[in-house]
């Protein structure tokens, strides 16, 4: 039972339509490290693609009341 069935909103998939594939399971550290390095530029570009442009306004807009 997916979470949508828990809260009853029909048959919509749980991921966003453009959501990426689920996390890959862990593999060897060395292989990952290499892929990691090669992917840094790509990663930074992806980050810039999702961040809101006005960093200051975005951060300032996040105000909660205190919790516990």
């Amino acid at each position: 039972m997916a979470q949508e069935r828990i809260f009853g909103t029909g048959s919509r998939r749980e991921e966003e339509p453009d959501a990426p594939a689920p996390a890959t399971p862990p593999t060897s550290g060395a292989a990952q490290a290499q892929r990691d390095t090669q992917g840094t530029d790509d990663l930074l570009a992806e980050i810039d693609g999702v961040l809101e442009t006005n960093a200051e306004a975005f951060v300032k807009g996040f105000v909660q009341k205190g919790g516990q």
């Binding site: 919509r12 959501a19 862990p26 892929r35 809101e52 960093a55 996040f62 105000v63 909660q64 919790g67």
Partner: protein, 469 residues
């Protein structure tokens, strides 16, 4: 204790960002977020078929409390499942806003601070033996909690350096990075209050179990963890230390002279070498104290055996985490520990853009690391790219959204699912299951948190399933 119940309560941050207009306030956003929960359970405080609890807490924080777990794997799975469930609500609200033309983006954060300096928590619960003297337990646990942030802190950017606090003198206002998010917001060692003056250990004694044998240790000093391996290390190290204390192991007195100041000192010192004053006049660094605990635990495990399958993994990561700080080689743990994973990301971004930690973008990245969205959250972006390690499989996490761990929670979960599907009015808390029938009420108490079945509860669930309730 050889077997223990664990649970994690997470208060999430929530914001509606509308760059082109005015975002909705936190209260309104939280109210809208919980509309599907209200429709499902006729309340904004519900127990779920996986045994967990979802509610709106103090200050309009969505909060998720995991079901009782008896293994590290289960507590991590339930914690991840909780994040996915609340993020599912975030996603539903986004779709509603899009459909209504409200616009903007709803963000949910699994972090511990907002931009105005408000803090909200991650609370760990450990069931402990009633026979263990509580003051002795707290005495040995506090120095551990103060210093464990060098391993399990979530990391935080301070664009104008560490804030001032009492005897703790901040730097020159230069931007900095700390191990912990929560350290700057804890005020005392142990107390029964939580919001007025924040302690590290809450002494409120609500066992939610047989009070003759158990009590509940409520640790509220920790940071919320994005990384599954950080969660496992946080719970696992605390558990094994408790096991040693409960076994009556003699430990040296490392009571800190000023725990609240020490917490800040440790958090803002990435070298782990800042000298902390002990109450008995001694002096130790965070690394000294952590090494003492690690060595004592390692000897204890050698003598008494491992009480679960992850002990070798746990001790290895504990040692490696301390070595990373000691040698200032953070690459040793930048796939496993939140503060190091985040710092690596920030440093890469800063280097590529010629930025300093004082840049507003760095604070935004810090926040975005904790964004629970699979597509926008930076931790999840790294996870997708295989740049961080996991502790459970995606299947484990999916399973935990629907199923309770093998504890008392499985009775509760089945009762909740059955009554909901049958449309039967019921009331549930951590211990009680109650049918609110028209003609008669029935209530069952589940006092043993390890029991996965209980005859009177099973009979009641059967009744509901058979349509006789």
């Amino acid at each position: 204790m050889e077997q223990r119940i664990y649970g994690i309560e997470t208060e999430f941050g929530l914001t509606h960002s509308a760059p082109q207009g005015r975002g909705l306030g936190a209260d309104e956003t939280a109210r809208r977020l919980f509309a599907p929960v209200l429709a499902w359970g006729r309340a904004s405080n519900v127990f779920l078929p996986n045994g967990g609890r979802l509610y709106l807490d103090v200050g309009s924080h969505p909060e998720y409390a995991t079901a009782e777990a008896a293994t590290l794997r289960d507590v991590v799975a339930q914690d991840v499942a909780g994040e996915r469930i609340v993020d599912g609500l975030r996603e539903q609200l986004q779709e509603t806003f899009d459909a209504e033309g409200v616009g903007g983006t709803v963000h949910l954060f699994k972090n511990n601070v907002d931009s105005a300096g408000n803090s909200f928590g991650s609370h760990e619960n450990y069931m402990i033996a009633r026979r263990t003297e509580f003051s002795r337990l707290v005495q040995h646990l506090l120095p551990f909690l103060v210093t464990r942030q060098v391993l399990v802190g979530a990391g935080r950017v301070h664009p104008t350096g560490p804030p001032a606090f009492g005897a703790f003198t901040p730097g020159d206002g230069a931007a900095s990075y700390s191990f912990s998010q929560r350290a700057d917001h804890i005020w005392e060692g142990s107390s029964s209050a939580t919001t007025r003056s924040r302690p590290m250990i809450n002494t409120r004694d609500e066992p939610h179990a047989d009070a003759e044998h158990y009590r509940r240790l409520h640790v509220i000093t920790g940071d919320s963890s994005m990384s599954q391996t950080t969660t496992a290390l946080k719970i696992g190290t605390t558990d094994v230390l408790l096991r040693m204390i409960e076994a009556g192991q003699i430990l040296p007195d490392r009571t800190l002279a000023d725990p609240a100041s020490a917490l800040r000192q440790v958090s803002h010192d990435l070298t782990g070498t800042a000298v902390l004053e002990l109450a008995n006049g001694g002096r130790r660094s965070a690394l000294d104290l952590q090494h003492e605990y690690l060595e004592a635990v390692t000897r204890f495990v050698q003598r008494h055996g491992a009480h679960h399958e992850h002990m070798d993994w746990l001790l290895e990561l504990w040692e490696r985490g301390l070595r990373a700080v000691e040698q200032q080689d953070f690459t040793l743990v930048d796939r496993e520990l939140d503060w190091a994973i985040k710092k690596k990301l920030l440093d890469s971004y800063a280097a590529a853009h010629g930025m300093h930690y004082s840049h507003p973008r760095m604070v935004q990245l810090d926040l975005a690391y904790h964004d629970t969205s699979p597509s926008h959250g930076l931790f999840h972006m790294l996870e997708r790219r295989g740049a961080v390690d996991s502790f459970i499989t995606p299947e484990d996490a999916q399973h935990a959204r629907e199923h309770a761990p093998a504890t008392r929670a499985s009775i509760r979960g089945r009762f909740v699912a059955a009554t909901h599907d049958a449309g039967v009015n019921s009331t549930v808390d951590w211990v009680h299951l109650k049918l609110n029938g028209e003609h008669r009420q029935r209530m069952v108490m589940c006092k043993d948190p390890f029991a996965t079945t209980q005859p009177d509860a099973e009979a009641m669930i059967e009744e509901v399933l058979a349509g006789r309730a």
